[in-house]
Amino acid sequence: MKPAPFEYMVVDSAAQAVEALGRFDGDARCLAGGQSLVPLLNMRLMRPAAVVDINRVPGLDGIAVGDGVVRIGALVRYSTLERSALVQERLPLVARAVPFVGDRQIRNRGTLGGALCHADPAGEMALTAVTLGGSISVVSPAGRREIAVEDFFLGPYTTALGPADLLTGVSLPDGAGTAAVVVEHARRHGDFAVVSVAATGRVGPDGTWVFVRIGLGGVADRPRVAARASALLAGTRLEPEAVRAAGEAALEVVDPGSDIRASAEYRRHLVPIFVERALETLRAQVQTGAKA
């Protein structure tokens, strides 16, 4: 399987990238890590007129903390996230999610920006972003803007990005001191999740949870926040009855499909079970003081 012909260009700035994207008006694709794009090119499932290599655009590979957020540049690779002490401390949910992505080779090349643009409904980075909330930075011929994460993912492999938009980074809330867990069911190690649950929260001084946020992946056309389930847990100690109620409530936001990995019915069956497991792990993390 070899790609169909395309024009390949390397750009040295975000402005150049945006200009190229605008020029091709939807028929150009950005190449960052390429771990999702190039297989699609090889299979000729995508036949863009142009491929714009943005790997040399400066300023897109940083991780910075400030003003209560952590800003991650679009070109930060998964392996960088994995090795970053800053991410471990300030974005523990991201740190928990990254090991589930692909394999070592894919994590060495794939980027956070690429993951968010690809918008796989079972993708761990999209799930993490949706669970934490935050905003996505975009540059276009019209200038810069921010898109709230909750407005970013529109459907399977579909985002709010326009044809000439370049995703430059994402800002996620500073999670220092939060507990975080990601649990998944998959057909194989490293495979796309059948069902994934991301959960994060903070315990107050009196031992009750100030907030808990539960996100679900693989069970709808995009990652979902289980809002009511999450709300039920505020002020609790994640007691078994509260956890069970949250698990049941999480079903409200799912609309799973059937595919080669699992049926809709089975996914639905797993949701409360995995939500419970995630919450039990959160509780245990805090009780033992464990961060692992």
């Binding site: 070899k2 771990q35 392996s79 490293g190």
Partner: protein, 163 residues
């Protein structure tokens, strides 16, 4: 035929300057343009890892990279391990543990092990297996591959730190 791009890349310590079509895959460039056949094609989807090379010292799947992307970078392929001389310790470990049968997936595993050693990782068992999920083998059932890599890491990283 679409435009060609001039690339300069160092492979196994040697510098090359070539013109490539934008869509030319890195694995095809290595195999057919540079004549380095040790990197293999198994899927062209980035799953099986038979195409694994070291890109600036880190494992990457060359079937899902464009040759043009490696302009200015450094690559190592399996041919860079022993050259014409004696087998590299990782190759000896695989030979002694019978960690290969048909040999088609082997170059990818060898380079993965070398990258782990470079990072100072002494992994074994499940932790090691988790690092190897990007390379598929259909002949060995992985058991002897795991043993070969464990031995190699203990001997290379463990031996080095025992100084």
């Amino acid at each position: 035929m679409t435009a060609r791009h001039r690339i300069r890349v160092t492979v196994n310590g040697r510098s090359y300057e070539r013109d490539v079509e934008g869509r030319r895959l890195l694995v095809d460039f290595l195999r057919h343009d540079l004549g380095l056949h040790g990197t293999h094609v198994g899927c062209e989807q980035g799953v099986c890892g038979a195409c694994t090379v070291l890109l600036d010292g880190e494992v990457a799947k060359s079937c899902i990279m464009l040759a043009a992307q490696v302009d200015g970078h450094t690559l190592t392929t399996v041919e860079g391990l022993a050259g014409r001389g004696e087998l590299h310790p990782v190759q000896e470990a695989f030979r002694d543990a019978h960690g290969l049968q048909c040999g088609y997936c082997t170059p990818g595993f060898l380079l993965g092990a070398v990258a782990l050693a470079a990072r100072g990782a002494i992994l074994e068992g499940d932790a090691l297996r988790a690092e190897l999920t990007g390379n598929l083998c259909r002949c060995t059932g992985y058991q002897n591959i795991v043993e070969a890599v464990e031995r190699y890491l203990k001997q290379t990283v463990g031996g080095a730190t025992r100084g």
